[in-house]
């Protein structure tokens, strides 16, 4: 992947990554397989940093949506670690990111914190009275491009942002992270058709395909299969990717032609509640908060026991 210098500079914001990179360079076993090294480094750094913050803040605020946030932790890590060209959240020519599945906002807050765009004081107000950090993201928060939370809205916002970039002859790209259940919404398919018709090649949708929704499993509630074929039939360039492999996500984006042709979708295969064994694929963890014992176990399982 070709990064511009601004992006390389920006990546150094991930201080934890740098520390781990140094450690990896000094480790002969890991140095033998640099790609493995990169993966383990990321797991130790951004992905796990996001996971840890999701657990800590959910526990502190005693709120749910933990499983949904864990489902996208690695996708968010790939985007904010490697993909998004955002030298500064106030730069009008930054890449745009729409967290269309707004209920996973905590994963986004974690990334904004780890990027250095949010203070720990701010992060620690998650779900507190008077905070800007609610369960769903608000655009008033620096680093949040669009307020979301109503499913089926974000892809239209992204399509407009992508069209705007083209009209302004900007090379910026627009990423929209949608949930699989969000593909139930008819309005999403309006945006899918629009983007394909206008060849919005600078628009990249990522579907968090964890197979479950608030009140059941997607194949029991409203079957989406064959999801990849559906997007392709609507004229999108569709790819499947392991949604917990940050390198794979990063490489998949790097391979996309964002200057011409159709819009792109990455169908990211994910596990709801990934990283915490008792949450995996359990409907309960869409809404449920953790007990003290569950919290300790979760931290232990992601390797973040204090």
């Amino acid at each position: 992947m070709v990064f511009d210098s601004a992006l390389l500079t920006e990546q150094t914001v991930f201080r934890k990554s740098i520390v781990v990179r140094v450690a990896c360079d000094g480790c002969p076993e890991l140095a033998m397989n640099s790609r493995e090294c990169l993966r383990s480094m990321e797991k130790l750094s951004l992905s796990n940093g996001i996971r840890r913050i999701i657990l800590e803040q959910s526990k502190r605020a005693n709120v749910g949506h933990i499983g949904s946030a864990l489902s996208v932790a690695d996708i968010i890590a790939a985007l904010y670690g490697h993909v998004l060209r955002i030298s500064d959240p106030d730069n009008p020519d930054r890449d745009r990111f729409v967290l269309s599945k707004g209920h996973a906002a905590l994963a986004l807050y974690a990334a904004l914190f780890l990027k250095g765009w949010m203070t720990s004081e701010c992060l620690n107000t998650y779900c507190a009275d008077g905070s800007l950090l609610g369960v769903h993201p608000e655009h008033a928060l620096r680093g949040v491009d669009f307020s979301t939370g109503s499913l089926g809205h974000g892809l239209s916002l992204g399509a407009g942002a992508a069209l705007a970039a083209r009209l302004q002859r900007s090379s910026r790209r627009v990423f929209v992270l949608v949930s699989d259940a969000e593909c139930n919404e008819g309005s999403l398919w309006e945006a899918v058709m629009f983007a394909a018709h206008h060849h919005l090649s600078n628009l990249i949708a990522i579907v968090d395909l964890n197979g479950q929704q608030a009140f059941g499993y997607t194949e029991q509630v409203l079957n989406l299969s064959p999801l990849v074929d559906r997007w392709r039939a609507f004229g999108w360039d569709a790819h499947q990717v392991d949604g917990h492999d940050t390198s794979a996500i990063t490489e998949a984006v790097a391979d996309l032609d964002v200057s011409s042709g159709p819009p792109h979708v990455l169908i990211a295969h994910t596990v709801f509640g990934n990283g915490v064994s008792y949450m995996k694929s359990k409907i309960k963890w869409h809404y449920w908060p953790m007990s003290d014992e569950e919290y300790r176990q979760a931290l232990d399982e992601i390797g973040a026991m204090a």
Partner: protein, 309 residues
């Protein structure tokens, strides 16, 4: 008003490259002059109004001023939540143009009657709401409001020929326009049905009953001072709107009377029942819902009589 909108928009677009026009596949034989002049700034998004408003929100975030166009219900009700969570929530300059308020698409039936758009837009605090009464007022209203920082909803009529006597193209945000002065009755109206309200005042004058007629084109922000001043002078006010009686100017006037503790009785002339099961022209439906000038005269006389006049 549709012609006024298209002509004014072309003039504005010539000056400001931020202006774009999106339509939900409507505006045939009306929007073409814009398309011919600015083919790269015109988007027929298809019959997909939610996406149209969502796309406009994304465009506005990047600095554009997108106008989205459809028939009233498809511009306001269908994408309502996209308007709320889009330009209103993000405070972005999207302009929503709803064509044909009230019974303008008369024979098209209930699905095409715009009867609650003012109500649903009026309850949203973050959107300017404009309903001009004729061609000239539409032109002025656009030239005053196109560059506002937040979203705007325009309720327009198709008619470009009717001119409201005494209005003279006047428009001011947060103000009402008086087109007639009289002592017996206050008539308050908005939009295309203003011509019926004005004709009823004329007919009442023949009977020796003089009316003050107020036109409200700036629904949000409402003309609170003008209304307060006028309502304090009268014991009886007739509100006239091609809209359900809940949510529009009848409600607005009642709110002001209650909040200011004024002693004016309101008779709300508007639509009170679901207008299904019958087809007809705008004029026919005005008569059926007591909004024709003749029916308004009858309502006014009855109200004055019950007041002991």
């Amino acid at each position: 008003m549709r012609g006024a909108f298209v002509r004014t928009l072309i003039e504005l677009a010539e000056q400001d490259p931020r202006i774009l026009l999106l339509t939900g596949d409507l505006g045939y034989a009306a929007l073409e002059p814009f398309l011919e002049k600015f083919p790269d700034r015109f988007f027929n998004v298809g019959v997909a109004e939610q996406n149209m408003v969502g796309v406009a929100t994304g465009l506005a975030e990047a600095g554009f001023i997108p106008f989205v166009y459809s028939i009233v219900n498809f511009a306001s009700l269908r994408p309502y939540e996209f308007i709320r969570n889009g330009p209103i929530l993000h405070r972005l300059p999207v302009r929503i143009v709803g064509m044909g308020g009230g019974f303008e698409y008369g024979t098209a039936g209930m699905t095409h009657h715009g009867l609650e758009d003012v109500g649903v837009m009026r309850i949203q605090p973050g959107i300017t709401l404009i309903a001009p009464a004729d061609y000239e007022q539409t032109k002025t209203a656009f030239s005053v409001t196109w560059n506002l920082p937040g979203p705007v909803y325009y309720r327009l009529g198709k008619d470009d020929k009717t001119t409201i006597p005494g209005l003279g193209g006047r428009f001011e945000l947060g103000r009402a326009q008086f087109i007639r002065e009289g002592a017996d009755l206050l008539i308050i109206t908005m939009g295309s049905v203003t011509s019926e309200a004005a004709a009823s005042a004329e007919a009442l004058a023949v009977r020796g009953i003089t009316s003050t007629v107020m036109v409200i084109a700036s629904l949000t922000p409402p003309p609170v001072d003008d209304l307060t001043e006028a309502l304090a002078r009268f014991r009886l006010a007739l509100t006239v709107e091609a809209h359900y009686v809940v949510g529009g100017i009848g409600s607005l006037v009642s709110e002001i009377i209650a909040e200011r503790g004024l002693g004016c009785r309101v008779v709300r002339c508007g639509v009170r029942t679901v207008p299904d099961g019958v087809s007809g022209s705008q004029g026919y439906l005005y008569g059926m819902h007591h909004l024709s000038s003749t029916m308004l005269v009858t309502t006014a006389l009855q109200a004055l009589y019950s007041e002991g006049r």
